[in-house]
């Protein structure tokens, strides 16, 4: 079975293609969204999802969130005295999603379509694919998030649609795609994005704005850094949520037995985010320019991603396009649903016989060259594009290059991705070296062919014309990809982790939530929550299913009440 997975910065979701429609699969807690959070507790058990997110309050040092932002780089986080890469943590989330599908449908998924931000570069895509492999999935295809959302939006009905724009602002990444639909063809015309902009940045701005106001005495400075950051960001997230529905909010943190509070208004927040809001404009302009559309030619503006719920963002969008955006698709579900549609397409489901999707390569790919100026000087590291950005994929293009020195022995091609004229501003994807026959400068030539497939993976062929020698690298399979053995070793490492049995998931999550509440309150309320925790722990020890279920219900209701009245 192929599943569609939205592996998000904040939340992840899984959907299956069943009976001609995509369905989201609920997790063990009955929710459709699983927070992308991992926590490793002191007793050696690993928590995924809501329970892990609650432990961000009680044990931030052993909890990781927003790890998608480190996808494809070497940064590691330390949990339970071990180093973990973003792809390992993502693999744990993917595995938990697979468990949910298995529990729901009775069969374990073996293949998946995983979504990535359109502006994810080759390294980030590779890391995502590896995460899938670590979770024991064959990744049939990586699909761009806005493209997936466009599928979900476009296939709501049979009608043709004038060009619409998908505005996808997630927790950590921002993508824009301009899409057309006609005769069953969903065609992405242009994509652009900023893979360093998302809802998390708004939290950081709010935390930075409120930190001096809420803590004039500098009490926070006494805490260790991860705990302080976690506390401020959690308070920012809560305040930001309040600001989605009201003009005022309270920014509050609890340190030991003191509650620090400060009010924040929507206006102040909007002013503080001005720089972020301005960054929303640039990718939109670039995408429009690339496909030569005017704003007035666009039909709907489709909002995707949890961060588009923020009134400040909606206001900025309304201002940018001079009209109200379309919010008929669920901002958190559309991407996973689109991934499930793609999964259906990959499985050649009959219901999708008449649907075709075509995407673009959102960035420029090329090699570095040496240029000679009119004074005879050499300029090194000049980027020579082979595939221009927003070319429809799959695509195969060729460039021809020649030697710069007499009797040059070999040509080294460094393969880059990016938009800067000098390669130093771009991302190096790999290198390939070919020997050339000794000839006067410029007489030995080589053809470089770039082939970019539908999943966004690049293959490079170099042919030396004088000798007919060919070298080939598939960028995704090159040196920095760990060998099968290494992947197996890391998979074994992940398999060693202990998880709570599925039937306990609800109890574990509820306990984590209660502990979080204990942390959030002071005085009498804290004592009461402490008593509830003791009661619930007693019920759990009894191992009496009926008693546990009752206690769980009671505690859930109690926490609901107290959370509703809390300033957080």
């Amino acid at each position: 079975m192929i599943v569609g997975i939205d592996l998000g910065t904040t939340n992840s979701a899984v959907a299956v293609w069943q009976d001609g429609v995509p369905h989201l699969v609920p997790n063990a807690l009955g929710e459709l969204l699983t927070p992308s959070a991992i926590s490793m507790s002191r007793d050696g058990a690993t928590l995924v999802g809501a329970a892990a997110l609650d432990r961000m309050a009680t044990d931030p040092a052993n909890t990781a969130i927003s790890f998608k932002r480190n996808m494809g780089n070497d940064r590691e986080v330390l949990l339970a005295r071990k180093e973990w890469r973003a792809e390992d943590l993502s693999a744990l989330v993917l595995r938990s999603l697979c468990d949910d599908v298995e529990a729901h449908t009775g069969s374990r998924p073996t293949e998946a379509v995983i979504t990535v931000p359109a502006y994810f570069n080759d390294r980030q895509r590779k890391a995502t694919r590896r995460a899938g492999e670590l979770a024991g999935l064959e990744v049939r295809r990586l699909i761009n998030e806005p493209t997936a959302a466009a599928l979900a939006f476009g296939l709501q009905d049979q009608e043709d649609r004038e060009p619409f724009l998908v505005f996808d602002l997630g927790g950590g990444t921002f993508d824009v795609s301009i899409v057309e639909k006609f005769e069953g063809v969903v065609e992405v015309r242009a994509s652009a994005g900023d893979n360093r902009l998302g809802g998390d940045d708004f939290n950081e701005v709010l935390a930075a704005l409120m930190k001096p106001l809420v803590d004039p005495e500098g009490l926070l400075a006494k805490l260790d850094a991860p705990r302080r950051e976690a506390m401020l960001l959690r308070a920012a997230e809560a305040a930001r949520r309040q600001l989605s529905t009201a003009d005022n909010a309270t920014f509050a943190v609890t340190i030991d037995d003191r509650r620090l509070e400060a009010p924040v208004t929507a206006d102040a927040f909007e002013r503080a985010c001005e720089a972020l809001l301005r960054r929303l404009r640039e990718p939109v302009v670039r995408a429009l320019r690339d496909c030569a559309f005017e704003v007035s030619e666009l039909g709907d503006i489709v909002l995707v991603g949890g961060a588009t719920r923020m009134p400040v963002v909606r206001k900025a969008i309304t201002r940018m396009f001079g009209r109200f955006p379309n919010s008929t698709v669920h901002p958190d579900h559309a991407v996973a649903l689109g991934a499930a549609i793609q999964a259906g397409l990959a499985a050649r489901d009959a219901a999708l016989e008449e649907i075709r999707i075509s995407d673009v390569c959102p960035f420029t790919l090329g090699v570095d060259t040496i240029e000679r100026d009119q004074f005879g000087g050499y300029h090194h590291g000049v980027f020579s594009p082979i595939i221009d950005r927003n070319t429809p994929v799959p695509i195969s293009r060729m460039g021809n290059y020649r030697t710069v020195q007499d009797n040059q022995k070999e040509i080294l091609f460094n393969i880059y991705q990016g938009e800067a004229r000098e390669v130093s501003g771009n991302i190096l994807l790999g290198s390939i070296k070919v020997p050339v026959p000794p000839r006067p400068a410029g007489e030995a030539t080589a053809d470089v062919r770039f082939t970019y497939d539908s999943s966004g993976l690049l293959e490079v062929d170099v042919t030396v014309n004088q000798t007919g020698l060919t070298r080939n690298i598939v960028i995704v399979d090159e040196a920095d990809r760990p060998s099968e053995k290494e992947i197996a070793a890391r998979r074994a490492e992940l398999a060693k982790l202990k998880f709570h049995p599925r039937e306990e998931a609800e109890n574990v999550a509820l306990m984590a939530r209660a502990e979080r509440a204990y942390e959030d309150f002071i005085g009498d309320e804290r004592r009461i929550v402490g008593q509830w925790i003791t009661d619930f722990a007693g019920a759990l020890e009894s191992q009496d299913h009926r008693r546990i279920a009752e206690a769980r219900q009671v505690l859930t209701e109690r926490l609901d009440t107290i959370d509703a009245s809390a300033p957080l």
Binding site: V284, S396, A420
Partner: protein, 584 residues
């Protein structure tokens, strides 16, 4: 590459007849696409895409032509496609600031004023007439609410309030040539106009935003350099600098970005503490430079400044005096001096050298002619010899002089002095230069000493002492030392310094301070006893120790292991001792 197709060939490829319309083309394309496995045949897909795009374009053009021929009122989009160069007023009709740039142009036709930015009552009659002009597109824009900046503007300043664009254009265009810089009042007014427009742009939708951006870019570029004070703020508001160096950078923005960077450099170099400030001031003076004026300015700085400006900010050369620049650019050419004067100058320099060489005990009698500074360089600091002596003392001990070093090893003495002088001429203090020469001798002692069986012991004892000293600054400093052999800012104890000097003297006297030969990486097997001691001393597991020994561990581990292993080996008397010590 994408194949080129004629429109008829494109239609044939899609299986259509001439005259097919847009829906037919799309339908045919979709049918062909569904029959194709694009992943298996990307070339066929590229051909199909190209055929579709070409067919659509020609169908659109044909439709527009038919409309025009049929005398039917053309719709806006088709009109655009047909006319090669649409009038700017037509496309910009919706914009409040659609007026052409030049102040003496007639008032723009068909321009409407942004509804929100108009104060209702006190508008002057002329713009009101424009507002109600019959050809103004009615309701072209939804009001977005008045920009806040307008409320704070002085109510009497009617022109500025209503048409900041015109006011700005008027302020920036100057009849005089070359245009003078704006005076303070003009600049303040221009900035106010600009801010109003930027505030409008921030509230505007994307197309209006783009129009304001393009208009301002054209205006600023067209009135440069009078518009210079406005550039920084405008560039920040539109994020122009994020486009810099990109493949798709718009030419007008690229032009302004270059100027912006030049402007920033100019602001910096005009501050007196900038290293190139003197050179900048010198090159701005009018006329040829006299030879005596050059004494206070270093030629190196002048060259640096000119090379930098020409390479990065070519437009700044206009700020310099051409005559001055060319007088500096001539190679040390004293053609402006008469021949007798030149002779006199040479004579003076010779005298000065003669005087110096006598007054300092003939220290410089045996100097290497290659290291003699060229005559046109800034005169040597009279304290130079004193400072050099201090540097020699630091490296070899207080009883040694440069003369002694020259006698022992002339190549080392030359290199020592060259290094010392180049540090000074690069602006280092004598202390810094001394530090550099001491490090230089220290490195040679260490690298040459460990190749000599007799010196090895002493050499590595000192190495260990230095590692101990830098480790007090933390693992980063230690790793840095192991890599570069520079101790940086760490001060060694007097005892260590004395031992270092003694070893350096010993090696200089036996002629062993030559340029170190690059050594091949050596390896030695470390007995388990030593590994055990290292593990005990560092508290690291065996795996980490082994990794650190083969330089595969982190800097902190490597540092700790190197230190412990060196100490253990020095205390040990086993047979492999020499081989292990060679590896450090």
């Amino acid at each position: 590459m994408t194949p080129y197709l004629s429109p008829s060939a494109a239609l044939r490829l899609l299986g259509l007849k001439a005259g097919a319309d847009t829906p037919a083309i799309r339908k045919a394309y979709a049918a062909k696409l569904k029959a194709l496995d694009v992943d298996a045949d990307p070339e066929a897909y590229a051909r199909l895409r190209a055929a579709r795009d070409i067919a659509l374009r020609s169908a659109k053009a044909a439709a527009a032509q038919a409309d025009a021929a049929g005398d039917a009122p053309a719709t806006a989009i088709e009109d655009d496609a047909q006319q090669p160069a649409p009038e700017p007023q037509e496309t910009c009709g919706a914009w409040a600031y659609a007026a052409p740039l030049l102040p003496h142009d007639p008032p723009a036709q068909g321009s409407a004023i942004l509804a929100g930015s108009l104060p209702p009552a006190d508008a002057a009659p002329e713009p009101q007439a424009e507002l109600t002009a019959p050809d103004a597109p009615p309701g072209a824009r939804e009001a977005t609410g008045g920009p806040p900046v307008l409320a704070s503007a002085a109510p009497t300043d009617v022109t500025l309030l209503q048409r900041p664009d015109r006011e700005l254009a008027r302020l920036l265009h100057s009849e005089e040539d070359p245009a003078p810089a704006m005076d303070d009042a003009e600049e303040a007014r221009a900035l106010r106009c600009l801010r109003m427009m930027l505030a409008d742009a921030a509230q505007a939708d994307l197309s209006l935003h783009g129009q304001i951006e393009d208009w301002l870019a054209d205006l600023l570029a067209g009135t440069w350099p009078r518009s210079a004070p406005l550039l920084e703020e405008t560039a920040a508001a539109f994020g122009w600098e994020s486009e810099r160096g990109q493949l798709g950078e718009r030419p007008s923005i690229a032009w302004l970005n270059t100027r912006l960077r030049g402007l920033r450099f100019q602001q910096k170099v005009e501050l007196p503490d900038h290293p190139l400030h003197k050179a900048w001031v010198e090159l701005q003076r009018a006329g040829w430079s006299k030879w005596y004026q050059r004494v206070g300015t270093s030629r190196k700085r002048i060259n640096e400044l000119l090379a930098g400006i020409r390479r990065h900010f070519p437009e700044l050369e206009g700020h310099l005096d051409q005559q001055r620049v060319s007088s500096w650019e001539q190679k040390p050419d004293y053609s402006i001096l008469t021949f007798p004067l030149r002779l006199l100058g040479v004579g003076l320099i010779l005298c000065a050298q003669y005087y110096f060489s006598w007054s300092h005990n003939g220290d410089r009698n045996t100097q290497n002619p290659l290291l003699e500074p060229p005559a046109y360089q800034a005169p040597i600091d009279p304290k130079y010899n004193e400072q050099l002596a201090m540097a020699v003392h630091a490296a070899f001990g207080p009883d040694k002089t440069i003369q002694w070093l020259r006698e022992k090893q002339i190549s080392v003495a030359s290199a020592f002095e060259a290094r010392f002088r180049s540090e000074l001429s690069n602006g280092a203090t004598p202390e810094k230069a001394t530090q550099s020469t001491t490090d230089f001798i220290r490195r040679r002692v260490f690298l040459n000493g460990r190749k000599d069986a007799q010196l090895l012991e002493q050499d590595l004892q000192l190495h260990l002492a230095r590692i101990d000293a830098v480790s007090r600054k933390g693992p980063e400093a230690c790793a840095g030392y192991l890599k570069s052999l520079d101790i940086g800012q760490v001060t060694l104890s007097d005892e260590v310094l004395r031992k270092e000097q003694a070893l350096a003297v010993r090696m200089a006297e036996t002629g062993k301070l030559d340029t170190p030969q690059p050594s091949k990486p050596t390896s030695a097997s470390v007995p388990g006893k030593l590994v055990g001691e290292v593990m005990e001393a560092t508290g690291l597991p065996q795996k980490t120790v082994a990794a650190a020994m083969s330089h595969k561990a982190g800097p902190a581990e490597e540092c700790a292991v190197t230190r412990a292993l060196l100490r253990a080996t020095l205390d040990w008397k086993g047979p492999e001792r020499g081989a292990i010590l060679q590896t450090f």
